[in-house]
Amino acid sequence: MSLQVDNLTVYYQTLRGDVQALEGATFSIADGEIMGLAGESGCGKSTLANSLIRLVPPMRLVRGQVRLDGEVLPIDDARRMSDYRFSRVSVIPQYAMNALNPTRKVGKMMAELLGSKGVDFAATIPELKRRLDLVELSHDVLKMYPIELSGGMKQRVVMVLSTLLNPSLLIADEITSALDVSTQKAVAEMLVGFRDRGFVKSLIVITHDISILYQIADTILIMYAGQLAEKAPTDVIIRAPRHPYTKLLIASLPEVGVRYAERRLSGIPGRPPLLLDPPAGCRFRERCSVAFEKCLEAPPFVELEPGHFVACWKELGEDVDG
């Protein structure tokens, strides 16, 4: 197991109280696994990802533990955590296109960053150039300023830089959201290539675009309102989901070859709850067609079949009579 997350609970501190953005997340990622992390906006995907690398105020670690390759990550201690960042855990941020300092040449900025972490930049140049070739960037980008690069080029520069020290875990946060469809596919395949070549051991790919995950992810973790709903191999999530939310989410995706003039796309009625004061128990309860009394208690995230975790009382075999 390269990553093990135990009961991770992270709140945002606000003047009106804690926003319970991530509640009791427990899951693991195997070596070489690409895990897709999906769910609607505000479901806690980015909170989960940020807590793994950059947990800063107003975020607050309430409880839980994260282990990477068997070692506990000091996620709530910024000073100690910075030794793990980049070399062990790395990120391709959502804002990859603005992630480079505008007044520094790309190569110089990399040299200064690596130098400040005690890495010999000169020695990494051959590997850096090999990786630039891999993402189809000319070596000249090192001598350019970020504004001389297109958005896609900047993103590829960030992809190369973030993975340069071969981290165990790479978090790719919404990296395809701002790209057109053909570029999306290329970027997604580059990520798989990075894994296959061993640049990164395992990957978390955050997106709300499940079709991208279908192409590259080994497993998919679905979140709803700050809680984990279901984790399973990609095929299982797409074809045989068991959590009511996953079922509705998958059903609301368009399918190739279907004409939606004839068959309306279904949505999920209702809205997710506010996380400032979320309802106790299963947070999907209000929108769920199969909810019953037991749902007033929070369901555990249980492995029903090997590799298939679900948090739903109905699936756990609890019945109305319970």
Binding site: F86, S87, V91, P93, A99
Partner: protein, 330 residues
């Protein structure tokens, strides 16, 4: 590059032409007649006044039609001739201005540069220290909102009148004549201190606030967060933030430097400091067309030169301008 500078130069030449034209027009819009004002002080006989009036009007070139005066004005400028002062007749304007400029440079150059360095350093420092941010920065807001003259008067009252440490008027002791001796230099420095301090303090507050806000903005920028996520040491992140935050401050500095020759009018008036600012007030009170024109001409040239210098400086410090230029000419 050449095309960029060429275009800029053209804009500056046009601006210069318009500004100088306005400079020529403004004194002439003032009600009253400078020659009349000058003669009225001499309390002459009526006939004598008439004769003298005709003579001086010709001497100042005010007898020809207005359009002719305007042309003569331009011709004279290119000969380095700014006319003769009415108020300090018959001294040439250029000589009066040249006598005042060293005082301005001596007063403002240290005040502007020192406040810039100190303010930026302090602002950047305060941005990462909660205690300083909460205590001294409000003071910065008060300082920057303080009118120069009010602070000047306060300082003059406290250090000049109450404590009696510093003199409050003139550039050197009235009992002295300019000459090279330690006593005279001491007197100059003593007279310089209060006007300097009043300008320094107000500007310091402004720079510190500006820098503090810019640093906080830059530290919240995406590139700072990315560096943090990659575990970059704080020193590197702050260095980048400081370098990017300083860019707008450089613009501000250059604009300040541009008006050095304009002097600090209100401060100089408060302390009767004989710079251009003080001169402008005297010239306006005496309807001295030529002295007003001359002073403003110096300000125009100073501001334009400073702007031009900053255009060039920006090309060097900010790659975005440099590249924008290539894009324009392509």
């Amino acid at each position: 590059m050449r095309r960029y500078l060429g275009r800029k130069l053209l804009i500056y030449v046009l601006t210069f032409f318009l500004a100088v034209t306005i400079d020529w027009l403004i004194p002439r819009f003032m009600p009253g007649d400078p020659v009349q004002t000058m003669l009225s002080r001499a309390s002459l006989h009526a006939e004598a006044v008439e004769v003298m009036h005709g003579y001086y009007t010709r001497a100042f070139g005010l007898d020809v039609p207005v359009w002719r005066q305007y042309l003569n004005f331009w011709v004279a400028i290119f000969h380095g001739d700014l006319g003769t002062s009415v108020y300090l007749f018959p001294q040439p304007v250029i000589k009066i201005i040249m006598r005042a400029v060293p005082y301005d440079v001596f007063l403002l150059l240290p005040a502007i540069l020192l406040s810039w360095f100190a303010g930026n350093w302090f602002g950047a420092f305060a941005a990462r220290n909660k205690w300083l941010d909460n205590t001294l920065l409000p003071l910065g807001y008060i300082l920057t909102a303080t009118p120069y003259m009010w602070l000047g008067i306060l300082l003059a009252w406290l250090f000049g009148v109450v404590l009696g440490i510093f003199p409050i008027a003139g550039a050197y002791s009235f009992s002295m004549r300019p000459h090279l001796s330690w006593a005279f230099i001491g007197s100059v420095v003593k007279h310089w201190f209060l006007p300097f301090a009043s300008i320094f303090l107000v500007k310091f507050g402004g720079w510190a606030i500006g820098m503090r806000n810019m640093i906080i903005y830059e530290l919240e920028a995406d590139y700072s967060h990315y560096l943090e996520a990659l575990g970059a040491p704080r020193g590197l992140i702050r260095k980048y933030a400081f370098r990017n935050a300083i860019l707008p401050q450089i613009t501000g500095l250059s604009l300040d430097l541009g008006v050095i020759v304009a002097g600090a009018l209100v401060t100089e008036v408060v302390f009767s400091y004989p710079g251009i600012g003080y001169l402008i007030l005297q010239a306006i009170q005496n309807q001295d067309y030529f002295l007003i024109q001359g002073c403003f001409l110096f300000i125009i040239i100073g501001v334009l030169l400073a702007n031009f210098a900053i255009d060039i400086a920006y090309v060097i410090v900010d790659p975005r301008t440099r590249l924008g230029m290539v894009g324009e000419s392509a």
